[in-house]
Amino acid sequence: MTLPRPVNVKLEYMRILVVEDEKRIADFLSRGLESAGYAVDVANDGAKAIDLVHAAEYDLIILDLGLPDMDGLTVLQKIRNRKTSPPVLILSARDQVDDRVKGLEGGADDYLVKPFAFVELLARVRVLLRRGQPTPERLQVGDLTLDCIRRKVTRASENVELAPKEFSILEYLMRNRGRPLSRTMIVEHVWDMDYDGLTNIVDVYIRHLRSKIDDKWPVKMIQTVRGIGYMLDLPEKAEKAG
């Protein structure tokens, strides 16, 4: 089993700051992220993290909430006070809804509860890194187009009728073309909440989507990524990525 490599060559030079006091966890995070093509710095307490954020430009910060010297939320606040700040992904052993809400309200962009699957983290990192880039009103992958304003989907100039949730999933997949998205991420994005244990529902919707946009045509765009979830791309590119 190999780690899915990032498709976009530009991503290889992205810098990630990992703020984590547990040495073992910091170690595997930096090793894993580096092997996925990112440049990684590690800060093992809040003070060092703030220093590093001031000293260098990061594209993403992965922040553990339980730090020895200060609360992770305090660090988050200090980072957010700067004019430009990178997206922040919180890692926490606290899984209460309260904690999650506090983290997201405090300015975090995503929240992942320990223990997590590394591929899940990686998928989230990729989506977060894409943020901030201008989003087109019309998305196109091969002969598949999606009009975000008029909410219309065509495949090979043929209109495709989609239910609202199917449309949202397809839009999410197309915006993140070539990036694997986990089932949990799709649930969180499309249903706007924690459908814990209901990730099966994603498989059902993907099956519907495939029957509408893929089954009739020889080129299949929705790919299953083993161990993670789904990805949308033209097959040649997907093979490269896989």
Binding site: M1, D21, I25, S35, A93, P115, F116
Partner: protein, 502 residues
């Protein structure tokens, strides 16, 4: 077919009406009132009758005297001497003669009134019986129409001193009618009064048990999640307020222990997640990135270390929960505290030397306690390992065992010149998973369970533990344990935080 319905929420308890306190109170009220009213009624009636009959008897007494004055018997012939010109006297005599009987000593009637004939003449035996009595007798008899008369009968003498039987009477029918009317009215109104008393009883009982019901209702609404619910006091300061107060205190205590359990489970899940994350992440990343067998080997070795950490957390938790729920059986025996301390101190000499910490002991052999050796060793080693761990190179750790100043207590002191514990952390150090995070050293090793064990061990041995610490100077733990065979009151311990070396 078996069926099961899971019911959510708290099922409402209902009190059976007939067995309810309110019904029973009201019922006993009614019974009490009924008996009371009947008894009062009967007593009153009897009293009324006695009084009215007494009046008649008094009148008869007077008439008896008058009759003896007006009646003269001469030669077996009775004569009523009254001045016929005096209308008053004539009236009196007429009245006297309304009910009367005069017979000779054998009961042969000499003279009588018609009414007395209707009542019936006294038999000769009765005449003889009454004539032998020293005083006239009063009794009640009825005429043929059932009208009651009070009769006074006795003997009178004629001019020759011969005895005759004489009786006069008065109707007491008016009295009887009055009594009957009273009885009828009284017992007619009795049900009304009983009904009224029942109503009163119902209302009073309702008022008395309303707070009880409100307590019961509040109790029904209390579940694990809203234990902070309190029943408002009524401010009466009575027994029910007392009950409510006890009840509120009970829920407060329950709330506290539920809170502890909640916090504990959050802590446990937090403690378990960290090593789990490390294990999972390391293995996953190794699977993706490792190329050489050495890299795999490293990942597995690291993961195993974390697994070991995880197991030790679980083991300690299990032990602590067993200890605190009383499942650990202590094997208490007379124990020389100094000897145990010497053993444990020996075990820590090498780690202390390696760290450059001087470990010294001053052990007084005269402190024998009744204790479980394993637990006392655990107590000593937990305290000593903390002391050594938090004392920097060049510092010292001193262990002292002696008899305490207050008689009956052995004293164990473990004193270090370590980092000290910030005052605001002191009250929490015996809590499970509580660790003082120190920014300078970043020493967050250990599980935060050691002092919880220490506290438990001291508690089950009936002792006291005191901690005094100054940040940057050191910490002193003082444990007091009762000496054998001398159960005494615990002496007060000073809680000095600022002056550990006082």
């Amino acid at each position: 077919m078996a069926r099961f319905t899971r019911v959510f929420g708290v099922p409402k308890l209902r009190v059976d009406f007939v067995r309810g306190l309110r019904f029973r109170l009201a019922l006993s009220y009614v019974i009490f009132f009924t008996v009371l009213l009947v008894v009062i009624g009967l007593a009153f009636r009897k009293n009324l009758q006695l009084e009215m009959d007494g009046d008649v008897a008094e009148a008869l007494e007077e008439e008896w005297g008058a009759a003896k004055g007006y009646l003269k018997i001469v030669n077996y012939r009775p004569e009523w001497i009254a001045d016929s010109t005096d209308p008053e006297e004539a009236y009196i005599v007429e009245r006297l003669r309304h009910v009367y009987l005069l017979t000779d000593a054998n009961g042969d009637v000499l003279q009588n009134s018609e009414t007395y004939a209707s009542i019936g003449f006294d038999s000769p035996a009765e005449v003889r019986r009454i004539m032998q009595l020293p005083k006239p007798e009063v009794h009640i008899r009825f005429d043929k129409y059932g009208v009651p008369y009070m009769i006074k009968a006795g003997q009178v003498l004629d001019d020759k001193g011969r005895p005759y039987f004489f009786a006069i009477g008065r109707s007491i029918e008016a009295n009887r009618r009055t009594l009957e009317a009273f009885t009828r009215n009284y017992f007619f109104f009795l049900p009304v009064m009983i009904a009224f008393s029942g109503l009163l009883g119902w209302v009073l009982a309702g008022r008395a048990i309303r707070p009880v019901n409100s307590v019961a209702q509040a109790a029904q609404n209390i579940t694990g999640s809203n234990l902070s619910l309190q029943i408002p006091l009524r401010g009466a300061g009575d027994e029910l307020d007392h009950l409510i107060e006890s009840f509120n205190r009970m829920t407060a205590r329950l709330n506290q222990s539920f809170e502890q359990i909640r916090r504990f489970s959050t802590d446990v899940s937090h403690e378990l997640r960290t090593p789990l994350t490390a294990i999972r992440g390391q293995l996953e990343v190794a699977l993706f990135t490792a190329e050489t067998p050495e890299q795999y080997r490293d990942a597995i070795v690291n993961a195993l270390e974390d697994v070991e950490k995880l197991s030790s957390i679980v083991r300690s938790l299990l032990l602590l929960s067993q200890a605190e729920s009383g499942q650990v059986i202590l094997q208490k025996a007379p124990l020389d505290l100094a000897e145990v301390a010497a053993d444990v101190v020996d075990q820590f000499q090498i780690p202390a030397e390696e760290k450059g910490v001087v470990l010294s002991a001053s052990l007084d052999a005269d402190a024998v306690i009744s204790a479980d050796r394993t637990q006392i060793e655990r107590l000593l080693s937990n305290l000593l390992s903390n002391a050594v761990k938090y004392t920097p190179k060049g510092g010292s750790v001193r262990v002292r065992v002696a008899r305490d100043n207050s008689p009956g207590w052995a004293q164990l002191v473990i004193e270090d010149t370590g980092l000290g514990i910030p005052a605001e952390n002191l009250p929490h150090i015996f809590d499970r998973f509580y660790r003082v995070r120190n920014a300078q050293t970043n020493l967050t090793q250990g599980l935060g369970l050691g002092l919880s064990f220490v506290a438990w061990i001291v508690e089950v041995h009936g002792g006291r533990i005191d901690v005094a610490s100054t940040e940057g100077e050191g910490t002193r733990f003082t444990v007091l344990l009762p000496l054998t065979g001398q159960p005494v009151e615990a002496p007060p311990l000073e809680h000095s935080i600022a002056e550990p070396r006082a």
